[in-house]
Subunit: 339 residues, 2 copies
């Protein structure tokens, strides 16, 4: 008799355990396996897991309440690749080509002529002013919904010149794991990018699990208009409203999030002030840089690069012992399709 009751009790306990694991503690169970399987063991991985352990240890000196676990990530070069040119700039170039039939004047007008003829030298000569003109012509003058549709269409068709894959395949598998690991530990993950908000929001949720309301970036002026049909629309105007880069990143964090991050990751000098702002908060902090050191599997560049230049931030990271991820040494795989 006793034995049967004991068996029944054990069964009950087992069911209870399964029920608990299946609901509240699935994250915990996962966390007990290696949460960062694409990261080689070493100082970078250890710094990250030690930090998460410290800030989540209830009653510990470095404990951070869940509401304050804000983690911010640069996008280009930090969460996905940015070579040979920023992917959003490739979108602009492709859009110029797609829109050209409606703009016969572009055949003779720079910088459009250079884009249509593939004349990179003339394109470079058009400088920042030329670049801004391309962005305005392809990113504004339509409603927010029309723009989102255009981005989605481009993503489904465009292929990266080196990897012959959709651009959204070129996200970093180790960073996807880091995002998921942080979220499983109560962090709210944000993008804080120099790219424009509405370009990223189209795909950030599907690709990174980061919802639109957690994407901070450069914004264009937008106007509310009531259509003649009684349907309101938001029109994208050819005017940049806010540049979320360099010193703009802490400003953007303050404006959109309103809390100082406890963890921030970037890869270039454009992220320097975001890391400084994060570091200057009280209590435990983690500042990280992705250092592109892998010419074979991805690209290798830093101090002399025109894209994603990493110079002053690398010096400060070294001096202050921030986490510097050596892509070649620290990452087992770069992209999800290489798993």
């Amino acid at each position: 008799m006793r034995t049967v009751i004991q068996i029944a009790r054990a069964a009950a306990r087992k069911i209870l355990l399964v029920a608990l694991l299946g609901t509240c503690c699935a994250d915990l169970a996962r966390a007990q396996a290696d949460p960062l399987p694409s990261w080689n063991d070493g100082p970078a991985k250890k710094a990250i897991t030690d930090f998460v352990a410290r800030v989540t240890r209830s009653g510990g000196a470095d404990f951070v309440p869940i509401a304050e676990r804000i983690a911010t990530f640069d996008n280009d070069g930090t969460l996905w690749s940015e070579q040979p040119i920023y992917f959003q700039f490739q979108f602009a170039l492709d859009r110029v080509k797609a829109l050209a039939p409606k703009h016969p004047e572009w055949k003779t007008r720079q910088p459009f002529k250079a884009v249509l003829e593939g004349d990179l030298k003339a394109l470079a000569a058009s400088g920042e002013k030329g670049l801004a003109e391309l962005v305005m012509a392809t990113h504004t003058g339509m409603t927010t919904e029309e723009f989102a549709r255009t981005v989605a269409e481009w993503l489904s068709e465009a292929r990266h010149p080196r990897f012959k894959r959709p651009y959204t395949d070129l996200v970093f598998q180790p960073m996807l794991e880091l995002l998921a690991y942080l979220r499983a530990n109560g962090f709210k993950t944000f993008i804080v990018s120099g790219g424009t908000v509405e370009f990223m929001r189209v795909w950030a949720e599907r690709v990174y699990g980061i919802p639109p309301e957690q994407v901070v970036g450069t914004t264009f002026l937008t106007q509310f208009e009531m259509g003649k049909d009684g349907k309101p629309a938001l029109m994208r105007e050819p005017k940049i409203e806010f540049i979320d880069d360099g010193p703009g990143k802490p400003v953007g964090i303050n404006k959109f999030i309103g809390r100082r991050p406890v963890l921030a990751f970037g890869n270039s000098d454009g992220d320097h002030q975001m890391l400084q702002w994060t570091a200057a908060g009280g209590g435990a902090r983690l500042m990280g840089l992705v250092h592109h050191t892998d010419a074979e599997r991805e690209w290798a560049y830093d101090r002399e690069s025109h894209i994603g230049r990493l110079d002053k931030a690398l010096d400060e990271a070294t001096a202050r012992h921030w986490v510097v991820v050596d892509m070649k040494q620290n990452w087992k795989v770069i992209y999800p399709f290489q798993k």
Copy 2:
């Protein structure tokens, strides 16, 4: 023997049930009691609970996935009172008095002189320009952290002239219940207010359960500065960057949230475009207005009021059968301290 096993199985099932209820389904259990106890039964309450039932019914025609359950609320007059003057404006007036010893020139300079002498006529005569000057002098020229401290201090000391209570006591109990009810049903609740973001963020989490990153509002220009001590700061500049009112509300929603709300609540014509923008989305939608009809327990005002004027939005709400909450008829209590 069989009986014992059956008993044991029943015990196991009971433990399982308790475990499940204790973890995932506490919200469900609460929702089965009246989720809006301070609302009288009637069309407003029914419209809200019917809407929530429809959009959360898995497989139903109006089902809305959790990620898209965005609910936006105006603040002044919708979540808390706004009479006899906007509470944030009272903060500005009190700050002028507190800062006056450092500004002897204010004794002879309008609109400051009017504030210091309590001369409401002269204050009104200074118009919008005078008002803007008062706001700039009290809201800018300091770091974001200094400003937040000032707001927190003011809230702890200031008392509302009619109710002799802290301003944060004058939030609407029925709206607190609505916020909690929506969150229990998977909604993400946002403030979208003409008030300034950093004034509200200081207390919105404690009072409404709305975290800083879910507060949208008017913003001042802010600049990143590196101090001589190597500590970075964000300085609040005397320039309004974005006005989150009227047509600015859908713009602010698009900029900060990036998704169209499925539910929006306001109380004045300043919320009209937010409601129109919400209504113009596909699928189930709920647009609501708080109509101040209770001169005895709160205030009664609408079409002729200088504060929270409700005229065109009321006409459209009536024509399109949006929810109009009659404060006097629909709400059992106004403030939490009256419960």
